[in-house]
């Protein structure tokens, strides 16, 4: 927790970063590095927790027992991811309770994708395929991130996420091979999610103010646009295999670049959703707040019991 102006720890920090080694909780680190990490890890943790809502709502009516079990296990994994990530944040000196308060006060964010509604069961598949797919693109490089506890959490998370991604894809494949109504559900869901998913990689590099420093620190390993391109290139053949149309008239293979060209997401919508003005922002936070409030007496009882047990 030193904030020494002594050049020696700074040099040690820089050297660790330069040789792509890990910074560990007890190591000296610049305040701004710590703050950036807290912001990013907390946002990631909050995303896991808020992300339980849109999918969790379908557990009760999943149309087969196998799908119910898969979905329940997936949402449970998200709670688990939240736990690791809050724990990683706690190594930086911020408690889960503080982070929860910041989330509920709207002072920390979560992934904007969870501010879009999931009104159809096909959305469970689309979230697996596209949302988890995009998350993996974002997260795989984070396994090599410079902060040790974060990187290690990401290794575990990425392994589970790619499992979720395959399950989502498999659900959509089953539906695409099913009835006309099922195919229509999948296409309709993909139509709604495609653009918001592209926004998950963040604004274009030219508009992304914090990216350069995060990359210098080894917190981030690739630029937003690089990752978005990679995601599109990876997804197009999967969409073809499924038989769904990605709703972008400008999407085509560019032989010259060896990559796909694609249209520009609506960055005004992105900005609005990020500032809290999306379809489900208020709903998601109200739900989280209600669960937090409803659980307060339980947490208090556990604390009182533990204190009494400790005193005995």
């Amino acid at each position: 927790m030193t904030t020494s102006e002594d050049p020696e720890p700074q040099a040690a920090f820089d050297a660790t970063i330069a040789r792509r080694d890990r910074i560990e909780p007890r190591d000296w680190m610049p305040d701004a590095y710590r703050k950036t990490l807290v912001r990013q890890i907390a946002q990631h943790a909050h995303s896991e927790i808020i992300g339980m809502q849109p999918e969790g709502a379908w557990i009760g009516s999943a149309p087969s027992l196998r799908r119910k079990a898969i979905l329940l296990a997936k949402v449970q994994d998200e709670a688990g991811h939240g736990l690791y990530l809050y724990a990683a944040c706690e190594t930086l000196g911020v408690s889960r309770a503080e982070l929860t308060d910041l989330l509920l006060a709207g002072r920390q964010k979560y992934s904007s994708i969870f501010n879009y509604p999931t009104p159809s069961y096909a959305d469970v598949g689309t979230i697996g395929w596209l949302v988890d797919g995009a998350a993996i693109c974002n997260q795989v490089p984070l396994c090599r991130t410079s902060y040790g506890p974060y990187g290690r959490a990401m290794i575990r998370i990425c392994k589970e996420e790619s499992f979720h991604q395959r399950q989502g894809y498999e659900l959509l494949m089953t539906m695409m091979r099913g009835t006309e109504a099922q195919r229509a559900m999948v296409q309709e869901s993909v139509n709604r999610f495609w653009w918001p998913v592209l926004m998950m990689f963040g604004p274009p590099d030219v508009q992304s103010p914090n990216s350069a420093r995060s990359m210098a620190w080894g917190i981030k390993r690739n630029s937003n646009d690089e990752l978005r391109q990679k995601f599109v290139d990876m997804t197009v053949p999967q969409a073809d295999a499924l038989g769904v149309t990605l709703p972008d008239p400008d999407l085509r293979w560019n032989e010259e670049r060896g990559q796909h060209d694609f249209g520009e997401p609506d960055w005004e919508e992105f900005a609005a959703v990020v500032r809290g003005d999306g379809p489900c922002n208020a709903q998601r936070l109200r739900h989280r707040q209600a669960a937090h409030d409803d659980g307060a007496w339980v947490r208090e009882a556990a604390t009182a019991f533990a204190a009494r047990a400790g005193a005995r």
Partner: protein, 243 residues
């Protein structure tokens, strides 16, 4: 005495309806540790339900699989005890339901794990281990809440009172020749376990009064219809579709 098919339905339906209720906590639990733990319990219950219902369907030989049994029966064809239908209420009510159910299931599954019917024994042996974890979890929370704050004590006491009338049904005569087990013989041990937990939790053991009955014969509570309506809605909206 009922046939093995009906008996398996009862075991499976207890687990299925319990899983449905337990999983309603998703994204609503008091803290993340409870999110994970409740999902674990729900997954165990769901796994048990699938094993029992699949077996029931195969035994029946009419081509009904676990999904046909879960999604295409109406309320009066379900054979679960009414206890599992009760709404989750607050966390204390869920803890009480889980304690009472899991303590019963653990005793039952342990005994069924030793029957001569190999498939039933196999499913039950696995389920016995799982329900033993559920008993521990619910016991810990019963004690924490009972012996926590005055508010949590009151809520845990109310919860135990509320759920108690639904425990009697678990020990009513209901069996199958292959099970060879009168549930009434489990009640003494069940009471010992439950009374020990309640004692540790500084909670009174409720008086016996009105006792729920009829679930094993298809009579259910007013809460059961809405539960099934939600559970079956997507499946029924897409007749014949595969997922």
């Amino acid at each position: 005495m009922t046939g093995l098919f009906d008996y398996l339905l009862g075991l499976g339906d207890d687990a299925l309806v319990a899983a449905q209720r337990t999983s309603e906590w998703c994204a609503k639990a008091p803290q993340l540790e409870e999110e994970v733990a409740l999902a674990n319990i729900a997954l165990d219950q769901l796994g048990q339900a699938r094993a029992f219902l699949t077996y029931a369907g195969e035994l029946e030989g009419g081509g009904r699989d676990e999904d046909a049994l879960a999604f295409l029966r109406d309320a009066h064809d379900f054979r679960n005890a009414q206890l599992v239908e009760l709404p989750n209420g607050d966390f204390a009510t869920t803890v009480a339901k889980t304690l009472f159910l899991a303590a019963y299931q653990n005793l039952l599954f342990t005994r069924l794990g030793r029957t001569a019917e190999p498939r039933l024994a196999g499913i039950a042996a696995k389920a016995a281990k799982e329900s033993s974890f559920h008993v521990s979890y619910a016991s810990v929370w019963t004690v924490r809440l009972g012996d926590g704050t005055p508010l949590s004590h009151r809520r845990m006491r109310d919860a135990v009172e509320e759920v108690w009338p639904y425990t009697h049904e678990l020990f009513e005569p209901w069996s199958a020749p292959e099970a060879g087990l009168d549930p009434a013989t489990l009640r003494g041990r069940w009471l010992e376990i439950v009374e020990r937990v309640l004692g540790e939790a500084t909670l009174p053991r409720p008086q016996d009064g009105w006792a729920a009955t009829g679930g094993r014969h298809g009579r259910h509570t007013e809460w059961f219809g809405p539960l099934l309506a939600e559970m079956q809605s997507v499946h029924r909206a897409h007749e014949g579709a595969r997922w």
